[in-house]
């Protein structure tokens, strides 16, 4: 009589490896585990801590959006799911090695890079990517650089929700921010900042603005601030808004009201007492960042004035030939995140900055899939990523069922990877280790009256994880 159970389990257990422990990774894992009782999922993450942009992207004053962490935690604690933090796929282990160890690999590592403006002066001191600014106030270890906030005027180029998050955090009263999980160094710097005016600039018009109404409403309601718009930017809008779908209509009506309507007595009082100003500027594209006389930093921004060709969502901005030079000390470019290739052997579309795929199946690469922003580009809220990830999981499951993905022979899974990591001196952080970090952050937060006080360096995270 011989014992077959162990080898049988190895044969019948499809093993899937997911690269990236953000929403895309977790939602893909969740769907796989739920759909098949034999699938085992291992999630690899570069940082010692999970959750990706839910932790490092969502604004500190939007804690409800972070509730998804609860469902991700349940997934990570499932018996058929394992988390391996502090493992950098691409440098600590190659995708090829993962393909050898697992039946399928799902790339869900998101977008770590920035879309460049492509204008002269872009690399001057004082010009920053919104992603780096957000990473800074959210405690991303890669973004510990301190930002100088001593200028009065801030330009934010781009009008998506990230741009509005940045504006709102810059202008929020301290007594609101200090109760959030914003990092203490960011809070201290913001408390000292001299920022008085934030302008959020877009290439096109009010009816093409990329942000959503909730974020605009938050700006309108922000204490101790007043809006400042250019009435001429809204010419013809009141007429045009009548025929558009409800979401665009309501957003445009809020913009119109904020820009043009005579304020109520209460609102007028708020505006007259406000110490800070915010506004949208439309029909402007950056063409150059102009340096200070000593060439050390940004001193002004040159903006091309546009007109609109066409209407609605597809309208395009066409330069008129006119330019404006506006003095400013700080420019934040919020024109999009960008995915980066992690392995030269994998296909990558540099133009779209995504991994080329069909319904989540990476092209020309059997057994490799992708989900999240890496699959479709860096737009969309968590809900969008959720559906996107469920899609990829369904494609993978379909392939298992049809035989397109061969799960008949045993694969070692993590047992094929951990010896390699050990040899290379890489010690993974398990989910229970993350829980130690989590507890430590919450404990530190209690002392500060905040939900948590985040650990800011990988070293500190590893130290707590190993204790």
């Amino acid at each position: 009589m011989f014992i077959v159970s162990a080898s049988l389990c190895a044969v019948c257990c499809p093993k899937v490896c997911i690269v990236g422990a953000g929403p895309a990774g977790f939602y893909t894992a969740q769907h796989l585990i739920k759909s098949r009782q034999d699938v085992e999922v291992d999630i690899y993450e570069r940082l010692p801590v999970p959750f990706g942009l839910v932790r490092f992207g969502v604004a500190p004053d939007h804690p409800e959006v972070k509730n998804v962490i609860n469902t991700f935690t349940q997934t990570a604690q499932h018996s058929r799911c394992s988390f391996y933090g502090n493992v950098n796929v691409g440098t600590d282990v190659s995708v090829k090695e993962l393909q050898q160890a697992y039946h399928a690999v799902v790339l869900s590592y998101g977008a770590e890079g920035n879309r460049r403006m492509g204008v002269p002066g872009e690399d001057l001191a004082g010009v920053h990517a919104a992603k780096d600014f957000v990473g800074w106030y959210n405690g991303l270890p890669d973004n510990r650089k301190v930002f100088g906030l001593s200028t009065i005027l801030f330009f934010i180029l781009g009008q998506g929700n990230v741009a509005l998050d940045v504006a709102r955090i810059l202008l929020s009263p301290m007594d609101m921010l200090k109760k959030t999980d914003i990092t203490q160094p960011a809070l201290d710097l913001l408390a000292e900042s001299r920022i008085r005016r934030v302008l959020i600039v877009g290439r096109r018009g009010p009816m093409q603005i990329a942000c959503t109404i909730k974020e605009v409403r938050e700006m309108v309601n922000l204490p101790d601030t007043r809006p400042e718009m250019v009435a001429a930017d809204f010419k013809g809008i009141a007429e045009a808004v009548k025929e558009v779908p409800r979401p665009r209509k309501r957003l445009t009506e809020l913009l119109l009201k904020t820009a043009l309507d005579v304020p109520t007595e209460k609102e007028q009082e708020k505006r007259s007492k406000a110490s800070r100003v915010w506004g949208f500027r439309f029909f402007r594209s950056p063409v150059e960042v102009l340096p200070a006389p000593d060439l050390s930093r940004a001193a002004a921004i040159r903006l091309a004035v546009n007109r609109l060709e066409g209407s609605g969502e597809g309208a395009s901005a066409v330069p008129t030939g006119e330019v404006e030079d506006v003095p400013c000390g700080l420019v934040i470019s919020s024109i999009g995140y960008k995915s980066l290739p992690i392995d030269p052997l994998l296909p990558f579309d540099s133009r779209k900055a995504i991994v080329p795929n069909t319904m989540g199946r990476v092209q020309k690469t059997a057994g490799v899939y992708c989900s999240g922003w890496l699959k479709t580009g860096p737009t969309g809220v968590i809900g969008t990523t959720m559906n996107n990830s469920f899609d990829t999981a369904r494609a993978l499951l379909e392939d298992m069922d049809s035989g397109a993905l061969d799960v008949s022979s045993a694969k070692p899974g993590s047992q094929g990877v951990t010896p390699l990591l050990e040899k290379r001196g890489v010690k993974p952080v398990e989910f229970s280790d993350w829980e130690k970090i989590d507890n430590e952050e919450i404990k530190r937060g209690v002392a500060m009256g905040k939900p948590r006080e985040k650990l800011l360096s990988v070293d500190e995270m590893l130290h707590v994880a190993r204790t």
């Binding site: 959006v65 604690q77 499932h78 779209k352 795929n357 809900g383 969008t384």
Partner: protein, 171 residues
């Protein structure tokens, strides 16, 4: 917003609780926030032990077109019902009833929709982001059951994935 502090506290508590729970995979999570919504809106709920005649029958039509009939209590939100009855709607209620997503989007018949009461700006703002928005759409976490809604039908609309067929994977 004025409720931010309470919500933060609830989120904190919720996270701690969930990490002690046995692992149950469900795309929707705890109903704590959702019930708070119905109570905050001043809805009168019975504090007596529930009797079977105090229940409200709700029919859900899932994404496969199947009708699922369950019962809830007056004062429960539709999100509460989905969670309490373990209804398996993929990704439903991601933000746990805090008006930070649109995944509890439900579609109603005209007659029922009219009975559901006014929509706040806050709900409308999130509803505007829902895929397949209709004139009789609401967010399930904001609909509170009453006896007068007995027998109501709520349809779970398709999510983006069911419709999108992009060949090259780009959006």
């Amino acid at each position: 917003m004025c409720h931010l502090k309470n919500k933060e506290k609830l989120v904190h508590v919720t996270l701690r609780e969930s990490s002690r729970r046995a692992a149950v995979i469900s795309a929707a999570s705890l109903p704590t926030q959702s019930r708070a919504t119905c109570l905050q809106r001043g809805f009168t709920t019975s504090t007596q032990p529930l009797r079977s005649d105090n229940k409200v029958t709700v029919h859900f039509i899932n994404r496969d077109g199947e009708k699922i009939t369950v019962k809830g209590s007056p004062g429960d939100s539709l999100l509460d019902v989905v969670i309490d009855q373990d209804l398996d709607f993929d990704g439903f209620g991601a933000c746990e009833g805090t008006l930070a997503c649109s995944t509890c989007h439900l579609i109603f018949e005209e007659e029922v929709y009219k009975q559901l009461g006014p929509v706040t700006d806050e709900e409308m703002d999130m509803l505007d982001l829902a895929y397949g928005l209709t004139d009789t759409s609401r967010l399930g976490c904001q609909i509170c059951l009453t006896k007068s809604l007995e027998g109501m039908v709520a349809r779970v609309p398709e999510s983006v994935s069911d419709i999108r067929q992009s060949g090259d994977g780009s959006s």
